[in-house]
Symmetry: C2
Subunit: 191 residues, 2 copies
């Protein structure tokens, strides 16, 4: 019944790190940087998760640590068991994350705040996704130029297309919603 060390067991952090190490051996620091510019759009990890998890991966035999002389740097590489574990995970069904959407909640209760509430919320949301689309366009250019012949490029393109598809849909919804808001405001003004 003792309250033990308790590193998370059901987490996908471990699997995310296995995936990262499958690209190439890396240090914890490098993993974080790489996550940021590669999958940062749909995944993030903090050092507070990365370092303890890496140690657990070594303990479980899924990764090996190797001291990198120069700095106080530990480079981790996948073991055969780690690669097997990663492949097994790739085959498992993904649990859909049940998200919370604060903006939608505010719109749902907009009866208390009026059309103006909706307008400012939706305008900010539109700006957010318009920005995402610009970012995706840049990433796409860079991806096609720098990894033109990389065997995994087709898969990376798919994840990028997901973001583009979603953000386009969001912008569309924003425009339609703003049009409806205008109508509501006109009705309110007329009365």
């Amino acid at each position: 019944m003792s309250r033990v060390a308790a590193l998370p067991l059901k987490t996908t952090t471990a699997e995310a790190l296995l995936g990262m190490l499958s690209l190439r051996p890396m240090s914890g620091y490098e993993i974080r940087q790489t996550i940021e510019w590669s999958v940062g759009n749909f995944w993030q990890e903090s050092y507070g998760q990365i370092y303890p998890t890496l140690k657990r991966l070594v303990k479980d035999g899924f990764a090996e640590a190797k001291e990198d002389g120069s700095r106080g740097r530990a480079v981790y590489r996948l073991t055969a068991a780690g690669r097997k574990q990663l492949r097994a995970w790739l085959k498992t069904p993904s649990r859909p994350q049940v998200w919370r959407n604060e903006m939608l909640l505010k719109i749902f209760f907009a009866g208390q705040g009026g059309p103006g509430t909706v307008r400012s919320q939706v305008e900010a949301f539109r700006e957010l996704h318009a920005g995402e689309l610009r970012k995706f366009a840049q990433i796409r250019t860079r991806l096609e130029r720098e990894y033109a012949r990389h065997p995994e490029l087709p898969y990376w393109r798919m994840t990028l297309a997901y973001g583009e598809c979603e953000s386009r849909a969001m912008v569309t919804w924003c425009d339609r919603t703003l049009a409806k808001v205008t109508t509501l405001e006109e009705v309110a003004d007329a009365s």
Copy 2:
């Protein structure tokens, strides 16, 4: 430095409950049921959050509890301060939730698993969103029929349209992705 009771302070649960109580006075149990069928698609609360938060709302003067004779039932109603608090919250910018997408992570690493990995992941995801679209269609019918003249209907429609818009985009992405997967499989077979 003592480890105190510590009910969450920055949570939006309190505001979500204020919103629910703005619809009508409710018990904790009722709030949960109502959340499920109204905003369940983009918001959920567990009893473990609801009951302690309701007590805090009373303590902070945002709600009043009234015993409902029949059962051991406490019905909460919004106070003027509570309504003011809700309106203030509606005006604040919404923090975008940074979500994690396990499916996209698996696709990103699909080099380790091959096109088959992507296919099964995407097929499941397509089924999920096709189901969502059917559910949304039902909700829309019910909404237009049962709340035809409700003053907040326009806002409720907007949140529904969001889900429809997003799920349609997801289905589109799935279809495009599955087409690409087929191409990849053909290339793999040919070699």
